[in-house]
Symmetry: none
Subunit: 119 residues, 4 copies
């Protein structure tokens, strides 16, 4: 089973979670990831939902399918994941973050203080 947030699609969260596990080293290049239906059972989710996650990751060249055998982690999967996340961060999160900081009139110093504390 797995807990799902309501703001993102379940299939997205499953894909993200798998990426996390690849980044953490749990799955490495060439490793077989859980089969669609096995994963569906694990997470208590319909197999179509898993399928969609896997298709998405396949399109992003993170996993590949060996017919009749299963899905496997592709070479450089970690790099691709990191790159994609970096992209999201710099193009979406960071600008919004800056925008909010400015609107809230949080000064540069305040912000740096804030970040120091929290890390």
């Amino acid at each position: 089973m797995m807990e799902f947030k309501s703001n993102k699609g379940i299939f997205q969260q499953i894909a993200d979670n798998l990426c996390d596990r690849i980044l953490s080293g749990e799955f490495k290049t060439g490793d077989k990831i859980p089969s669609v239906r096995e994963q569906a059972a694990n997470l208590g989710v319909n197999h179509n939902t898993i399928m969609r996650s896997y298709m998405e990751l396949q399109q992003k060249d993170i996993i590949e399918n060996k017919r009749g055998v299963g899905f496997f982690v592709k070479e450089d999967a970690s790099d691709k994941i990191m790159e994609s996340r970096r992209n999201d961060f710099f193009k979406q999160m960071l600008p919004e973050f800056i925008h909010q900081v400015e609107l809230l009139k949080i000064t540069k110093l305040d912000l740096i203080q804030l970040l120091k504390k929290l890390k």
Copy 2:
């Protein structure tokens, strides 16, 4: 016209945008904001969508409706907006931001450099 992001509802983005303009001082207490239909034409959006934005803001006590006349900015609107944004920022955005920074292995120094440049 206005560009809309795909991750948030259009009505949300319109409401947010109006709040931004209130915070910036473009609209002050007692000012009339654009009529629903005018706004709809400006933004190239169905008027029902504008209506929903305005209703949302009315519920948050940021604007009020004078029937047959239009919507007007309420007293202390800026404060209410700021308070709500602060809340969102510290409870949602900041934690997520920190999380991403850590995942991407962006160092404290990198981050501070980044923020200095961009502001």
Copy 3:
């Protein structure tokens, strides 16, 4: 209703068919194509199947979605379709064709005769 071949996925055939109709000029840039559920009813197919067709075409930049309104033909859709088909032809069909011709020991002259007759 629509007749489907068994060798290709239904969703593929539906996407292809829509492309054909774009190429034929039935749908032009900016036109709204039938809504997912309307199309589903038209073709006697589940709406998920139509959805998949449309998603595929959206990814290929042939159609786009206006939220809450429907799917619309994008600019240069015809060009993109033609390019994609050309690609398929030269990278898949033509080589296989040549291969078969050689195996069957059909001479250049025979072949040209054949093509002249049939066109």
Copy 4:
């Protein structure tokens, strides 16, 4: 090892490949073809898949099984393959080919040029 296309079954491609080699004269009437397990190792494929290829060819009277010894090329195998291919070519490939050529608006002259170059 061998590269497999995704549009046809692997077992099909293996059978086709073997036929190609028979046509080319690499295997003649009475020759023993590679054993199932040897072939499986060569192609990096499950032996069941090879088995299915061989069964298919056996049914078409192209090879035969001598129990405990192996599979052997039958008499007139080449002729049977050729006949079957001719059939496929004229009933399926050629019409589709013509259809695509017309869709892509490739002129008769272009086509002939193309075929001259490639052969």
